[in-house]
Amino acid sequence: MMRRDDDAIISLVSRTVSPFIMIFALYVIFHGHYSPGGGFQGGTMLAAALILVRLAAGSDLSQLQFPRSWATPLGSAGVLIYWGTGFVSMLCGGNFLNYAFLPVSGPPPHHRNLGILFIEVGVGLAVMGILTAIYDDLLEGHPRD
């Protein structure tokens, strides 16, 4: 049922656009402190970049860009980064997620700034990984005939 025409334009455009989307997504994640954006928005864009190539090149060919088996582990790693930031500050004497207790140098606002950065990275990874994983899972479960 899934007849795929190897359309040069579609594949070329999506392949070219995808890295630029990713770069912009990284900008959105890491510049989230100073401009609209943040982990969730950036993570969604990363996932969009991956899914774009998956749509254009088919799910087999796109494995070269981002293997299916990486998606869920990366997403879990993102959640673990988030949880780990909170837990480290808990171990260092504060309440859960109290970044002021993170073992870095500088005054507490700086700690919080860094803590927010870690969290945004974790959120971005988790959203990217798991949205891609859901897309892959849905495609696998799709009835083929």
Partner: protein, 103 residues
């Protein structure tokens, strides 16, 4: 059954309109949402979130600070939600794949 559905729908709409009538104007500076102190004298969270993020976290983007710091636990819940969804899609759809292979 269909009549009941439409009755529920009409009731829902009526309740929404009734509730909407007594909501404060959008952007009204005297609305409870936008005051500095709540009626009980406790600090009002939205005003606090506008005034203090730069002092507390050295970050001008208020939404980022609220998301990741003041209400960071919500965001961890959000991560957990999406992790759950990923695991469940894996759980539900994986079986289909193995069955197909066996055939």
């Amino acid at each position: 059954m269909k009549a009941v559905n439409y009755a529920v729908l009409a009731l829902f709409g009526a309740v929404l309109i009734l509730g909407g009538l007594s909501l404060p104007d959008r952007g009204d500076p005297t609305a409870p949402l936008n005051r500095d102190k709540s009626a009980a004298g406790t600090p009002n969270a939205p005003s606090y979130y506008i005034r203090n993020p730069e002092r507390d976290a050295d970050t001008p983007n208020m939404v980022t600070v609220v998301l990741a710091d003041y209400r960071g636990f919500d965001t961890m819940g959000e991560e957990t939600v999406i992790l759950t969804a990923g695991l469940i899609c894996f759980l539900i759809l994986r079986r289909e794949r193995t069955k197909e292979k066996r055939r």
